[in-house]
Amino acid sequence: MAELLLTALAELHMESGAKMVPFAGYNMPVQYPLGVMKEHTHCREQAGLFDVSHMGQVILRAKSGNTADAALALERLVPMDIAGLGENRQRYAFFTNEQGGILDDLMIANCGDHLFLVVNAACKAQDIAHLQNHLAETCDIEVIEDRALLALQGPSAEAVLTRLAPSVADMRFMDVARVQLAGIEAWVSRSGYTGEDGYEISVPNDVAGVLARELLAAPEVEFIGLGARDSLRLEAGLCLYGNDITTDTTPIAAGLIWAIQKVRRTDGERAGGFLGADIILDELVNGSAQKRVGIRPSGRAPMRAGTRLFADKQGATPIGQITSGGFGPTVQGPVAMGYVGADFKDLGREIYAEVRGKYLPAEVAKMPFTPANFKR
C-alpha cells in the first residue's frame, strides 16, 4: 500500500493526542482524547475545529478572462445555476454522469475573477481528471496543493473567528470572502458540514499550524476528529459521498432536488445541458423508484450502513438498505438514513431492519434529526 499522505497539521494532531486512521489516502485524526461523543456534543454546544485539508481545492479560471464563461462551462458538469451565482457566494453542487448518477458532491464559490471548488478527498483525482476532460478548452484548472483547509463549526464559531477578523460576523450562510486572520491571508466561507453555523478556512500550508493553534487557544474551541464529523453530518441529514450518494444514486432518489435550481430544470432558461440530464429531469417530474429517507430505529440498537430493510417483520419483502447509521449523541439515540422503495418513503411509515438475524422495527423519519443552525 502507498504511504499515507499527511496534512499540514499532522504534527499538531500528534501533539494533541489524536488517534490517527487511514482515510482517503491520508493519515487523519479519527478522534482526540476527548472522545467521539464529547467532541460531537462540544461542537453542537460551543465550537469545534476540524482539519479537512485532505479535501481537494481547485480554482477554475476562464481562458477568456470572463468568469461567466467558466461558470457556463462548469454547468455542463453540474445541474446547478452557476452562471447566476453571485460574486462572493457559494453553492452546494454535485457532478453527474451520463447515467444520472452522482460522481461527487462539492462546493462551488464565485470569487469574482475565478471559481473555487472544494471536492471530496476520495474523489479528487477523478474529479480533476473529469474537469480536465470536459473543461480544458475553456478553463485553466489549477489544483491547489499548498493550502490547508480548516473548518470551525458550532454556535461559538462566529464569536471566536470575529476576534481575529471582525468582518466575518457580517458574512451570511454561503458567503465567501478573502480575510486577514492573524496576519494570514485566508479564503473564508460561511459554511460547513455539521448542521451548525461556522466557517471553512483555506490558508497556506506553512501557516496553517499557527492559525490552528490560535483557534484552539480560544476557550470555546476543541479539536474534533472524523468520528464526530460523521455523527454530526448524519444528525444534520447530510449525505456522505460513497455511502449515501454514489454513481448508482440519482439526485432525485437522493432527495437533492432542492440543489437543482429552476433555471436548469425543464422549461428553465438553461434547462438540461449537463451529463445525465434526460434521466434526472425525467425523474424530477415522474419520481424515482427509490428514495433516500431518514430512519429512526424504534429500539436502542444502532442500524449501520449496509443493513437491509424490509416491509414486514418476517423479512419477506426487501425494500432497500441503510447507507449511513449510528448513534446520534445530540438525539441521544440511534439514527440512520437509507434508500427505500418509493411506496415506503412517507414519514412515520414502519419498516424493519435486519440486525444480527432479527427484524427490528424502525420508522421513516424527518431529516435533519437535529435542527440546522445556519446563519441565513
Binding site: 478522534q31 472522545g35 467521539v36 461523543m37 464529547k38 468520528g227 455523527s231 436502542r300 440498537a301 444502532p302 449501520r304 449510528g326 448513534f327 449523541p329 440511534p334 444480527r356
Partner: protein, 119 residues
C-alpha cells in the same frame, strides 16, 4: 481476577464467575452506546456469543469465556451503556455464570499474562 485473550475479566465466587470487559477493551472500543445482554438460564459453551456491544464506531461481541449457565445479567447496562467506559471493572460487570467445571477458571490468564498480551 483472571482474564481471557478476548479481553474479558472474570472473578470467581464459589462456582460462579462474574464477567466484564477490560479497561483496555473499553478504551479501544470508545464510547459505548448499546449493550445487548444474554438471557438468563440454559447451558452455554465457551466461545458462544454472549453480549453484543456497540460503540460510536462499530459493533463487537463478548464471548462466553467458559462452559456453564448464565445466572444473572447487569440490567443497568441497558439504560446506561456508558457505564462500561466509566467503570469497566466494577459497576459495568456484564453477566454472571455458574461454571460447569469450576477448575476451568484456573486455566485463564492471570494479570501478568494479560498485561503481556496487550503489551
Amino acid at each position: 481476577m483472571k482474564f481471557t485473550e478476548e479481553h474479558e475479566w472474570l472473578t470467581l465466587d464459589g462456582d460462579e464467575v462474574t464477567v466484564g470487559i477490560t479497561e483496555h477493551a473499553a478504551e479501544a472500543l470508545g464510547d459505548l452506546v448499546f449493550v445487548e445482554l444474554p438471557e438468563v438460564g440454559g447451558a452455554v459453551a465457551k466461545g458462544d456469543d454472549a453480549v453484543v456491544i456497540e460503540s460510536v464506531k462499530a459493533a463487537s461481541d463478548v464471548l462466553i469465556p467458559l462452559d456453564g449457565e448464565i445466572t444473572a445479567v447487569n440490567d443497568a447496562l441497558d439504560e446506561n451503556p456508558a457505564l462500561v467506559n466509566e467503570d469497566p471493572l466494577g459497576a459495568a460487570w456484564m453477566f454472571k455464570m455458574k461454571l460447569a467445571n469450576p477448575s476451568d477458571y484456573n486455566d485463564l490468564l492471570d494479570e501478568d499474562a494479560y498485561k503481556a498480551l496487550i503489551g
